[in-house]
Amino acid sequence: MKYLAEYRNAAVAKALVHRIRQSATRTWTLMEVCGGQTHTIVRQGLNDMLEGAIEMIHGPGCPVCVTPLEQIDRAVHLAGRDDIIFTSFGDMLRVPGSDCDLLQVRARGGEVRVVYSPLDALELARKNPDKQVVFFAVGFETTAPANAMAVWRARELGVTNFSVLVSHVTVPPAMVALLESPDNRVQAFLAAGHVCTVMGWTEYEPIAAKYRVPIIVTGFEPVDILEGTLMAVQQLEEGRHEVENQYVRSVRREGNRPAQELVSKVFTLVNRKWRGIGEIPMSGFGLTEEFAAFDAERKFGLEDIRAEESPECRAGDVLVGRIKPMECPAFGTRCNPEHPLGAPMVSSEGACAAYYNFARFRSAPPLEV
């Protein structure tokens, strides 16, 4: 497939691994920010190919992973109401709340629908004027423009039975929180290419300078990740700490200006809880006062629904890179994809699920096919 096959080329990947190994005079600790990158790394076995030269810590970069329990509980509450059609991206449906997940709400008669775009949810609201349609607006900066657009269009069209349950998070404050942590081990970041496609990378420049940490804007295919890793290693070996762009086919320094403008009109920065990590100041988007009428939390009075996370779940430690998923005592036993304790076991991009699905068997002999 054009634009994909060339970034999955085994010979190129092998050459990059060789160069990374040649460049690294010691083991460097890198964090990939995005869950999509985690998946490529574990699914393709990149961490094994780089063992000794690079230690990969999987970052907090899955919006499904970091959605706090109480926001799931609020979603479950809304989805159970007779007058509401609750809409969401697919992988949010299996995230366990305190009592159950959205799939179970559906089995009990709640109307829960998977949509591929928030604009589809808006369309559903227009077709069902006698129902309230709520869209679960989650994601990093990547999904914010489309979600903002849905709210913007709803106001433009005068659709009053549409609202959004917002659980948006932003990347830079989470990176700073990690870097400020006393037991931080991350020496360089692979920043999420899709987030930067929207936001550009100017906001990463002060972080790289202040914390003296290389940040490489990186794509999602194996060759992207290996190339980003090589760029990080070269900076570390040379003692540089800059923002560099590996994902040149998609990202410009200033990002996508029209998308940013739309986001800034509809959303404003708010404090946001991250599942397992706790509240990070100014780390999420909430709706601006101007669009408060589309805020499901206010519309349906959800502020009183609060929840504590499972005490056994070490999602927080996994998400900040303090432990690997399999170092959690519940991993693979009391916590697995059928019965996930924490969100990182839920999403196919979650760090725990990625380990569970792809890394349990690591010593398969070469195939002779």
Partner: protein
Amino acid sequence: MAEERGPALAGGLVCPVPTTQYDRVQLGHGSGGKMSAALLRDRFLPALGNPVLQELGDAAVVGIGPAEVAISTDTFVVSPLEFPGGNIGSLAVHGTLNDLAMMGARPLYLSAGFVLEEGLSFEVLDRILAAMGKAAAEAGVPVVTGDTKVVERGKADGVFINTTGIGMRRAGFTPGPSRARPSDAVVVSGMIGRHGIAIMSARENLGFEVQVQSDSANLYPMVERLRGALGGTVHVLRDPTRGGVASALNEIAAASGVGVELDEGALPVPGPVAAACEMLGLDPLYVANEGILLAFVPAPFADEAVDALRMHPLGRDARQIGRVTGEHPGMVVMRTAIGGTRVVDMLPGDQLPRIC
């Protein structure tokens, strides 16, 4: 660490699936994944179990006098009723014929039961029945008995169809899910993922065009070619329907107590299927098929099996995609295109499209 725990966590039907706390049926129980297996194990087998049912093959094989008779039943609830490459009628014929064929049986007769929803247009019903009749006639397997029921609007989704088929096994040709042996070659008869993506593109408002037709087809002619060329050396046949190639291989690995190694580079995925899966965040290995088969044959016969399949138009893309090993029993492992290795597990429930 991970590899030491591996076998205990093999999943599929090997280790007990953790008890789930569901108090009622979820859609995921119909996915063909671990939840479906748990539903059978925890609810159906305790109530209905017997040595024949417990085999959990595509079809049951029972002795009637001197004959080995295969019986299979399947219920079709596909939405939409009509899709590129077929409709629920042709699918209901092919699905049951294929389940018989996978046990090595020659399909002989079909029954068909219909649950019709009040308000279903005769135009649609006629098209479904015509496709059904055509599929049955082409296969030379008549529908010899049937039943119709009508339910109130809202109590069904247009039409549900159940078909049951019976067939005769041939002496010396007894493929079965527990017969895979280390060093067997794993062969697939054609491109994967077409049925599931065709249905999804017809069902969902995806916002992009997918030019994929369902592969729904009668697999018996290909089975006949294999039988002619290899006879009793065919160990396992399986049509990887819901749950896709990955779930079928996991079931076989578990039933036979062997490991399976796949080669990602050898998997035949049509371009449009790969593109749709990329956009939706799905893995083609878990997408349903209705017109391909997996064959396990001893490695020395792999080329013969591929050649035999390629003699038939449906099998022109046949190829070897992996092999069986005595290592990691119950587990399917894939060598990735860039040289890494990963586990291909059974999914708990349905594949959920990813957020971004």
